[in-house]
Each structure stands twice: as C-alpha cells, then as structure tokens.
Symmetry: C3
Subunit: 347 residues, 3 copies
C-alpha cells in the first residue's frame, strides 16, 4: 500500500504544513521514524523527536508551536492520537480486504456450502458438508474438516488445521498453524502397561469474536464440547485440553496451558506460561500471573493469584521476598541456636 | 454420520423403550444432552439427569426402575457403560475409515512406494524413496520427506512435516502441525562470538502405536537416532530434542520439554509444562509432576518427583507448605532475636 | 545417499584397511553403529567399542595399534575427528543441495521476483510483490505473504507461514511450522468488558544467518519492527512477542517466551521454558537458566540469573538449597520458641 500525504490528510481531515507529495507506506513510532513513514505526536515528552525524526510525516495538534524548523511534513488535526488510531484501523481494514475470490487449485468438496464475498486461497482444503459464511477468508494451505461451520467474516490464516465438526463463530481470527479439534489426550491403562486410546468424539465450539494465536492448540471434547465463549483472546502456543470451557472475554497469554475439563469464568486474565490443572473452576475476573501453577478452584470473583502452586497475589510476593532471604534466615537461625545453647549451658 | 435409534439398538443389542425413529448424530454426557444426542446412565448419582436430559436417547440398565416419566427414548442393556464404550469405539472406527483414495492434486514422487487401501489427501507431498504401508492415511497439506518409512495403518493429520529419513511404525497417530525430524539445536561458538551450525544428520524413529500431539516437535539426532519406543503417547506442543530416547508406554503431557540426549525409561509419566535438562537418565515408571524441572538422573524405578528443581514428591509438598509460611517464619525469627537480645542484656 | 567406502576414503584422504566395497548410507556414533554406518574413534575411552561395533567403517588415527581383530573397515587419517566433521559437513551440504527447480503445482504471483537456482516446492504459495534471492529453497506447503523479502541462500522448510511485509536475510534457516509476522497480542478493554483489537501494522525483520526452530512464533510489531539480529538462533516452540528485539548471536532454547517490547543484547543465552516479561532490557551476554522468570531489566553485561523471579545465579542456588531444608528450619524454629518460652518462664 502506498499513499501520498495529501490522500492521508483528506482521510483524517488534517491541514498540511510542508511537502504534500511525499509517498507514505508505513506507520511507525516517532522515535523510529524512517523515510516513507508517518507517525504522530500526542505525548509532550516525545516532542524532541519531532525535530530529529526521519519520518516523512508527523500528525500533530493544531495548536502545537514549533520551537525550531522540522524536516518532516506536519499534518495538523484536533486530536493526533485519535487521527492516528483512525489511520491504523483504516490501514488494517484495507489489509484484510486485500484477498478475495477462490484461487486455483483449491479443494472444495461438492457438498460444502460457501457464502458470498469469500476468499479461499490456493491449496486450501474444504471437506464435505462444510458451511462457510459470507465474507470469510481462508488462507492458502489451511485444512477445514468434515461438517465444520464457519461464521461470517471470520479470517483463517495459512497452515491452520480445523478438525471435523468444529463450529467457529462470526468475526473470529485464527492465526497460522493453529490446530482446533485435535483429539483430547485420553488413554486407559491396560494390564500389560500399555494404553488403550479413549475415542475423542466431542467437538470444539468457538463463539463470535474469538481470536486464536499462531500454533495454538484446542483439543476436541471426549464427549460434548470444548467451549470458547464470545470475545475470548488466545495468544500463541496456548494449549487448551479436552472439555475445557473459557468464559466470555477472557484473555490467555502465550504458552499458557489448561488441562482437561477445567472451566474459566468471564473476563479472566491468564499470564504467559501459566498452567492450570484439570477439573477446576475459576470464578469470573480471576487474574493469574505468568508462570503460575493453579492447582485448586477459585470461587470468589475478581481475585489475583501468583506462584506455583498459587497463593493470593500479595501473599506470594511476600513469600518470594523471603525466599531470597532464605540463606540469611538460615544463618540467623543457626546463630540463635548457638546463643540458646550458650544460655542454656550457662544457667 | 446419522443413525436411527433402532440402528443403534441393534448394534448394542438393546431393547427400545420409546420412539425408535429419532435421528442420532452425537454422543454426549448425560448432563449436557441435546436433541440428536445419545448418552448413558451407569453411575446412580447421575440418575436425576435422566428425567431432565434433552438427549434423544439414553442407554440404561435393564433393571432400572423409573421414578417418573422420561422425555427420552431408553435403550435397555445389561451393562450401559460397556454398551456406550462399544458405541464410542464403533463411531471412532467409522470416522477413521471415512477417507480413502488418492485425491488430486497430490504430489507423489515416482520412486515412492505406496501400499494398499491408502488415503493421500489433496496437497499432500510424498518425496522420493518414501515407503508407505497398507491402510495409511495422510491428510491434506502434509509433507513427507525423502526416504521416510511409514508403517501400516498409521494416521497422519493435516499440516504435519516429516523430515527426511524418519521412520514411523505401524498404527501410529500424528496430529496436525507436528514436526518430526527437524534439526537438533546444535551450534559451536566461534572466536568472533558467532556460531557455526553443527550438521544434524541422524534420524527419528517412532515405533508402533505411538501418538504425537498437535504442534509437537521431535528433533532428529545429531548422529544416530532420536528414539520413541512402542506405545509412547505425546500430548500437544511437546518438545523432544536431538538424541532423546523415550521408553515404551511412557506418557508426556502438553508443553513438556526434554533436552538433548536424555533417556526416559518405560511407563514414565511426565506432567504438563515439565522440563528435563539434557544428558540425564530416568528409570522406568518415574513420575514427574506438572511444571517440574528435572536436573538430575533418577536411578530407582517407580518414584515420584515434583518442583523446580525436583525433590521427592513428598519432600517438595512439605517445602511448598513451608514456603507459604515464610513471612510468618521470618516474623517469628525476628521475634526470637529480640527476645534473645533482651535475655542476653538482662543477664 | 549411498557411497562406497573407497569414495569416502578419497574424500577424507584416508588409507583403507579392510573391505573397500561396502555401502555407506549413514553417519553414526561408534556405540550405536549399524551395518551401513560410518563412525570415528577420537577419544581413547571409546576404543573398546571399536572391537564390537556393527558399523561398516570406522575412521581412526594412522597410529592406532589394534589390540585384537576388528569386523569393520578402518579408514586411517591424521585427525579422525576433523575427518569425520568434514564428512558431516559434506553430507549436510549435499542434503541441502538436493532440491531444485519449481515444482508443479506451486502458486507464484505474477508480481513476485524469484532469483536464480531457487527451489519452490509443490503447494508452496508466493504472494504478490515477494522478492526471493538466489539459491533460496522454499519447501512444499509453505506460505509467503505479500511483499516479503527473502535473502540469498535462505532455506524455508514445509508448512511455514510468513506474513506480509516480513524481511528475511540471507543464509537463514526457518524450520517446519514456524509462524513469522502473526499479529501481536494487543487488545484495548472496552467499557462493556469486551476487547477492541489494536491493529498490528508493523513488521518482522530477520537479519542474516538467523535460524528459527520448528513451530516457533515471532509476532509482527504493533508499529515499527520486531527485530532479530544477525546470527540469532531460536530453538523450537519459542514465542517472541510484538516489538521484541534480539541482539546478534543470542541463543534461545526451546519453549522460552519473551513478552512484548523487551530487548535482549548480543550473545545472550536463554534456557528452555524461560519467560521474560515485557518492556525490559537485558544487557549483552546475559545468561538466563531454564524455567527462569525474568521480571526486571539487567544493566550489567555478562551476568547469569536463575529462578522465577530471577536472582543472581549463585544466590538462587543458595535459596534453592535452603528451600529443600524448609521443613527442617521450621522445626528448628519451633524448637527454639519452646526453649525460649521455658527460659523466659524460668527467669
């Protein structure tokens, strides 16, 4: 994408101060501005960068008074931050709109129902009895299994694998390499020490506005449903086991893992690399710090936890402080013992 | 898949009580039953669900006496749990049997040998000198490198990458996005601070009945073999480094990682997110808890460990209890010091 | 690949002692030698293996004196270790050279520029405005997004996803299933508890000689650049969030994760499953142990850290020793309290 400064000025209703013909092809932070970039100045502490930036254009406030000449083109608006955000979202929309049509060769089973204004990339595979809503984009090399349903305007990036019978809502985003609907990890021990696989015949349901990070895995239920409610955001390399349920608008950071049948409430936050064992229930708005290990259910909403195994956030911080003093504590304990011995012997 | 209740009744030799013409297309838990679902009642504590379930059919014992009318169709058998398990396994078999033949376009090198009753999905890639056994299924968008050998009835899901010279046994299951045979992580430091790559020319061998989870990675050996013995089960997002060896029927949960050249015995269990450093040996039947960090070899079979770094399971639990009391211990220590000071000064 | 022993002898300038016509198709360690394998003997402690190895050939020193007859063919050279390393590197080069040309069907946009001596596998997807240097290899089922630039001799394995505008240097290796340029994890909370996605419009830049492990994820910057400098080595299943910067020749082991905007210096080493929170700066040559949790910036170069949260390496080791003694310390503390009580009451 490439625009002139005057095109951008018209989009954000800005007055131009400087060269209006420069080409813009990148949005950048002000301190890392490069030729071809546009940035903005909202926070006064970044003002010095205005005089040194290499960016081709900077969005500034109408009432900014220059202290010295600038090398960049100024775009004056009422609210630079809002104008820049508007620009970001417009650019983002244009990116998404970029791909359309059915590329060849793609594999689309005869029984699949494909909506309007859909993109299906080359080497994408749509199995039998799949239903794809309007405005859906399926990138190249992605696999959609039998009977999968995909809601309107959902975006699925390349090399994603959606196993059979998965249901995906509208306006979801699934990033590259994610696997949704793979078998839960269930095995029954046999007498000879080997294992018998327990068939995993449930499904995965993603409600609307869910985002799934790159290479994240969501296993299908043994029976019933692994359920990801509306607005949930999963970062990269997250593991959700069979029959997990995640409440609406809960956010889970990268490399966190949740074991089988655990249920998280709404608006929870789970930090990176945290682990939650199976068959627990966590109340709404629970906060779990990064690298924590959750080994018990949380009944009261809105509390924060930390540590492996978890304690209340504040208690864990105190234990951590003391942990760093352990060698000192041990010496003091030893010292007390010596003095106690002296005392006892002297009496 | 869709069946009538009478078809299912004949499969599990049940007597039908109620509407035999309903369609069944899902197996569900009794508490989450929906129209179109079939479930079972074996544990008396779930009996109340029988009168409220939305499931279209419930498998019950022949001698169950109803306390009130039900809305569902009953299928009476001698052993409801066994009947339902039989149904699960039948359904699972049918799922697996679903795909067959070579879809177009697939890439199959002239020198590849492909067995009977094989499925090769569209956009699957079979390199030169590959040998594929009978009944193997290779899903779309999966890559099989040069000289790979795949045993009979092995199932490889989409977007899997099998690097050259890997050997996979019979009756294995490889889930979506797994990478098998990628280079081990080996680099020799050079004098200028940069690294020289150490060629990774060994291979990976999976014996029979191994299951590999979605997006799990198994690196090839530097030289020799990264060996996964018979019946090993690996969950999703697991990392096995170069020259690792995993003994038969060992089970490794999601996001666990095992560093280079470490050898695990038979029938070990490794919890989720656990890590094991390189060049160790763990005895048979060792149990490692989730999030543990194993930094030493285990010589005695059948022991359980926990913590990072690990202690014996029981010792670690005691340390964890004390860790939560650390702030209290510190106060008590401080208090003792004050009293000791008083005592000493008073004498 | 298959060679005769005499071909190999000529490559490493060895004198042959024994059958020169045997076929060699594998390089192996001496203790795991199999027919068809070649190995070497440099370390005297492995000498006993020489008389029992099944390997078809062993590279040994010219001045080695046999204590008993051997079943293998000997290749006598001045420096067995160097000769074997030369063999390894030659074999590795030949592997890499193996694939060439554009296979069909591949998808290459008309506007893409493709260099000389390139390999593009079947089902690889090259988007519009991509630039691919000379000698690049792109394996099957890999996706290259719009405007991506790939430097000379870079090797990209199967099922990789490179999002739009990513820049990859020369002589890089990207392993199977890696995702580069996926959206950073950025969401702004709305008043109703749901989240608004913050557009992620920056890019990822990999400089020359970078290696990226299988199923590793590198997110694009929100604005600006996620920067991986020259010679960085990333193991499998690593997570690098938006706007992370990794200094030249830094090495990051498997399953480690680095949160948004954190900057690592040059020649750092990060252990497996370690986590680093966002917005930190780590000095050059910082060493972080496996499973550590880094929650603060490190200003002084060359220091080692361990623990979650981190302490100086040595302090953490002492705390860990004391942690294992905690139950004992608690008993000693309790005992002191009893004796103090006795003392106080007796005075």
């Amino acid at each position: 994408m490439k625009f002139t400064i005057s095109q951008i000025a018209s989009l954000i209703q800005a007055d131009i101060e400087g060269d209006a013909q420069r080409d813009i092809f990148q949005l950048t932070p002000i301190e890392a501005g490069q030729p071809g970039g546009i940035t903005f100045l909202a926070n006064p502490k970044y003002t010095p960068h205005l005089y040194t930036t290499q960016a081709s254009a900077v969005i500034v406030s109408r009432d900014l008074v220059l202290q010295q000449p600038v090398n960049t083109t100024l775009l004056r608006v009422d609210n630079p931050y809002e104008a820049f955000t508007h620009l970001l979202e417009t650019a983002s929309e244009m990116m998404k709109r970029g791909r359309s049509g059915i590329e060849q060769p793609a594999f689309i089973a005869d029984s699949a129902k494909v909506g309007k204004d859909v993109y299906v990339g080359a080497f994408a595979y749509i199995s039998a009895n799949v239903t794809i809503g309007d405005g859906v984009k399926i990138y190249p090399n992605t696999f959609i299994g039998e009977g999968v349903v995909i809601g309107d305007n959902t975006l699925i990036y390349p090399n994603v694998s959606i196993y059979y019978a998965t249901q995906i809502g509208a306006n979801c985003i699934i990033h590259a390499g994610a696997s949704i609907g793979s078998d839960g990890f269930g095995f029954a021990p046999k007498e000879d020490g080997s294992y018998r696989k327990i068939p995993q015949l449930g499904q995965v349901v993603l409600q609307d506005h869910v985002e799934v990070g790159a290479n994240t895995v969501i296993d299908r239920a043994t029976m019933g449903t692994t359920l990801i409610q509306e607005g949930v955001k999963l970062d990269n390399l997250v593991q959700l086991a069979h029959n997990v349920e995640i409440g609406a608008h809960t956010v889970i950071a990268a490399q966190a893992g949740i074991a089988g049948s655990t249920k998280l409430g709404r608006n929870c936050m789970v930090g990176g690399q945290a682990g939650i064992v199976g068959h627990l229930t966590l109340a709404d708005q629970t906060k779990i710090d990064a690298q924590s290990g959750v080994n018990r259910s949380i009944d009261t909403p809105g509390l924060a936890f930390r540590g492996s195994p978890i304690q209340a956030h504040r208690d864990q911080l105190r234990s951590e402080v003391m942990f760093r003093k352990l060698a000192d504590m041990h010496m003091r304990l030893h010292d007390l013992e010596l003095r106690m011995k002296e005392l006892t012997e002297s009496t």
